[in-house]
């Protein structure tokens, strides 16, 4: 079955991103297809590579990036939410005249249309948030 996942909360503050990760991991293990994980609202904060959690804690961003590398997951950050919160890729850096980018490996920035498209194309869309 083809799943799409929506993540509305950032890392560490709320369990939503953790539960979403465990769900996606289990779905992939079971042989399902996860066609997209869309990060919206504060959820886009999962996609900065500049976090340094303590070594005895889980590394939420790295966990997503690793899963994306292993399974060719499509991790999409909502562009409007990113612009408001300072999550920047190279294109956004140039377009908005910023002096750095911070997007993590395996993530990309795109529009809300990607969420609607996921809702249309996936058999099930499941939301994790607060």
């Amino acid at each position: 079955m083809k799943f799409a996942v929506l993540v509305n909360e950032g890392p560490y503050q709320h369990q939503a991103s953790d539960t979403a990760y465990q769900f996606v991991h289990a779905a992939l293990q079971a042989g399902h297809d996860v066609m997209r994980v869309f990060f919206y609202h504060d959820g886009v904060n999962n996609g900065t590579r500049l976090t340094s959690p303590p070594q005895d804690d889980r590394h939420i961003q790295k966990r997503w990036s690793d899963l994306a590398a292993e399974h060719k997951l499509d991790l999409v950050l909502c562009v409007a939410a990113c612009q408001r919160r300072g999550i920047v890729d190279e294109d956004e850096m140039k377009r908005n005249g910023k002096d750095a980018d911070n997007i993590a490996e395996g993530f990309r920035i795109s529009g809300l249309g990607q969420l609607i498209e996921a809702g249309i194309e996936a058999d099930r869309l499941i939301t994790f948030g607060d």
Partner: protein, 102 residues
Amino acid sequence: MSTLNIVNKSPFEKRTLEQCLKRVGDGDSVLLIEDASICAVAGTAYQDQLNATAELTKLYVLQPDLDARGFTDAKLLEPVQCVDYTGFVELVAQHDRVHSWL
């Protein structure tokens, strides 16, 4: 046509559980995760409401969330079934749609 309803808030903090329960019915399921998992434990103020809901609706709880909160060996409400993340995935696949009560 069945809906998997997911609740993730403690009913002792927010009213999401009761707001969900009054709008579900025959053939639906309710999955308790994160801070909502604790109401699967027998003896809370919500047990009568959940038991009544279970007459028409299936109830599930995400076991890792119960474990995390110290309720691995707790007595659960009789109609509640435990699932792990794999079981969670199966529930999503088995229902026609998912409604996350955020």
